[in-house]
């Protein structure tokens, strides 16, 4: 059980999202960075769909009301527990009264805090994710505030006394200045001017300050849409890159509307959405066109990576039990 001492009004309880209500107009919500969220859960032996706290703004401070395990993953934010520095990916024990502090983010844009069994909030419509617009799910359908208390869904402390960290996939390729996003051409790709298509796939786009759970507005080469007439509203999914009248792209994300009508140049593949979630205003993105086969392979590769982590963590626990 931990108490929030201080937190900017942007942190929400999320799981992998609310499936099955798209046709009622309800978006998925859910974590922006499913990879860090899943790793934080797995470090505690939780289901990957257990609820974590998504923290997009720091500093934040929590106090453990009783001793317990916790895990952190995502952005590097100078976290400390009882004054001792923690790495950006961490699972360990805290003593009663310990203060967990997250400082300024130096790399990445979101940290995830996990508790044993997940954060204990009621499931609504099959998920514990916060639906900010509709005001339900998560903790009372809202962002966290000082004084809130987060309970662990499980009393068990599955961790050995050894602290754990993990090697995560790199946000950028070694030596790269930009974050690469793999994407499929989308419905109106062919209706953009050839030079605009070329620019989209070859020049970098900068993440603007207008970037949040609904979407990221990007700044870069203006994209000229050459078809005329309004599009009829249609379903939109996280990762879709829309280009409104101004010619600057927007990537729709976890809390986007479920329908829209702007021209769509591309769709970022699901296994790369976590990279957007960890991109900060000012970071530069580069889109790389992939085929469906490459998108399918990327999805499989990420699932296999997560399964491999689960196996490795089980191996670690088995070794630890042998030594105790």
């Amino acid at each position: 059980m931990i108490e929030v001492l201080f937190i900017p009004p942007a942190a929400t309880v999320q799981d992998l999202g609310r499936d099955g209500y798209w046709s009622q107009g309800l978006g998925r919500a859910g974590v922006m960075d499913a990879l860090s969220h899943s790793v934080a859960n797995m470090l505690l032996g939780n289901d990957v769909d257990a609820a974590t706290l998504e923290i997009p703004l720091t500093p934040a401070r929590f106090r453990f009301r009783q001793a317990g395990a916790f895990a952190l993953a995502g952005a590097a934010c100078g976290a400390t527990l009882a004054g001792r520095p923690l790495p950006r990916v961490w699972a360990g024990m805290a003593d009663a009264g310990d203060v967990l502090e997250l400082g300024p983010m130096t790399s990445g844009a979101r940290s995830y805090l996990a508790l044993p069994g997940g954060i204990d909030v009621p499931a609504v419509l099959g998920s514990r994710s916060t639906q900010l617009r509709e005001g339900f799910g998560g903790l009372e359908g809202r962002v966290l505030a000082a004084g809130d208390v987060l309970r662990a869904a499980s009393e068990t402390l599955p961790l050995p006394p050894v602290g754990l960290s993990l090697t995560m996939p790199a946000l950028r390729a070694a030596g790269a200045a930009e974050i690469e996003l793999r994407a499929l051409p989308s419905a109106e790709h062919g209706d953009f001017a050839p030079a605009s298509r070329e620019a989209f796939w070859t020049t970098p786009y900068t993440v603007s300050q207008q970037s949040n759970r609904q979407g990221y507005r990007l700044e870069g080469e203006t994209l000229a849409y050459e078809a005329s007439g309004e599009l009829r509203s249609h379903g939109i999914a996280p990762g879709i890159v829309q280009v409104p009248g101004g010619g600057q792209p927007i990537i729709q994300l976890a809390d986007s509307a479920t329908m829209g009508g702007y021209p769509k140049i591309a769709a970022v593949i699901e296994p790369d959405l976590w990279r957007i979630a960890q991109a900060r205003p000012g970071d530069r993105l580069r889109f790389r066109q992939v085929t469906l086969a490459e998108a399918a392979l990327a999805a499989r590769t990420q699932q296999e990576w997560l399964a491999g982590i689960r196996t490795q963590l089980e191996g670690f626990l088995t070794r630890q039990r042998g030594w105790l």
Partner: protein, 214 residues
């Protein structure tokens, strides 16, 4: 190949857009496709848009040929879903901040704007954008107005607004670039209710003016 477009709008999301006029008969074909496709193996959800349908798949498809053929065959079959749909009368206060402006833009007196807006039986074509929001067909063309140049950052839930040839009632607070002419207390989405969304495609709405304040 029939005149329809299939495209990826996500690595597991496919958008099917047949080329057709925007009318109720074609929308009924879309509802039929969505119902049918939702039962296909590998399809998690099927969502009707405005004369288009989006499928959310379980996995990234390895190719689109099969799904394209199946969707095109369904469309070509011309099968329509003629929903009985319920008719809902909604008490509406025509008291929105832009009612007088809409009267000005359309060149009609306020009373006439309200009368024209409350006259038709609207059909829910699609549900989406935000939870419980309905895309309605049936607005009188005399009420066509442009979108607002400066959107309102936070319009309360239950706001009746219109723009272009579309009209609808917001189900929760959010930004809006439409012209707002009324308000209601009705809840269009309630997670405690089954189904949570009040209205489904094919349902019909009639607005009952309880107050006019411009």
């Amino acid at each position: 190949m029939p005149d329809a477009k299939l495209s990826m709008i996500g690595s597991r999301a496919v958008l099917f857009q047949p080329s057709c006029p925007f009318d109720l008969a074609n929308q009924q074909r879309i509802w039929a496709i969505a119902d049918e496709a939702a039962t296909w193996k590998g399809v998690r959800e099927a969502v009707p848009g405005m004369t288009n349908v989006t499928l959310l798949l379980d996995h990234v498809p390895t190719g689109l040929d099969r799904i394209e053929r199946d969707l095109a065959a369904l469309w070509e079959s011309g099968i329509r879903k003629q929903v009985e749909g319920r008719l809902l009368a909604i008490d509406m206060a025509y008291d929105g901040p832009h009612l007088a402006e809409v009267a000005g833009m359309t060149g009609l007196p306020v009373d006439q704007v309200v009368r024209l807006h409350a006259a038709p039986e609207y059909t829910v074509y699609a549900v989406g954008s935000h939870a419980g929001y309905c895309y309605l067909g049936g607005l009188d063309p005399r009420l066509e107005t442009p979108r607002r140049k400066v959107p309102l950052p936070r319009l309360p839930g239950g706001s009746l607004s219109l723009a272009g040839l579309q009209t609808g009632v917001s189900a929760s607070a959010g930004p809006s670039g439409w012209n707002t002419i009324g308000s209601t207390d009705l809840s269009f989405f309630d997670p405690e209710r089954t189904p949570a969304a009040l209205l489904r495609p094919g349902d019909r709405i009639r607005f009952n003016p309880v107050e006019v304040k411009a």
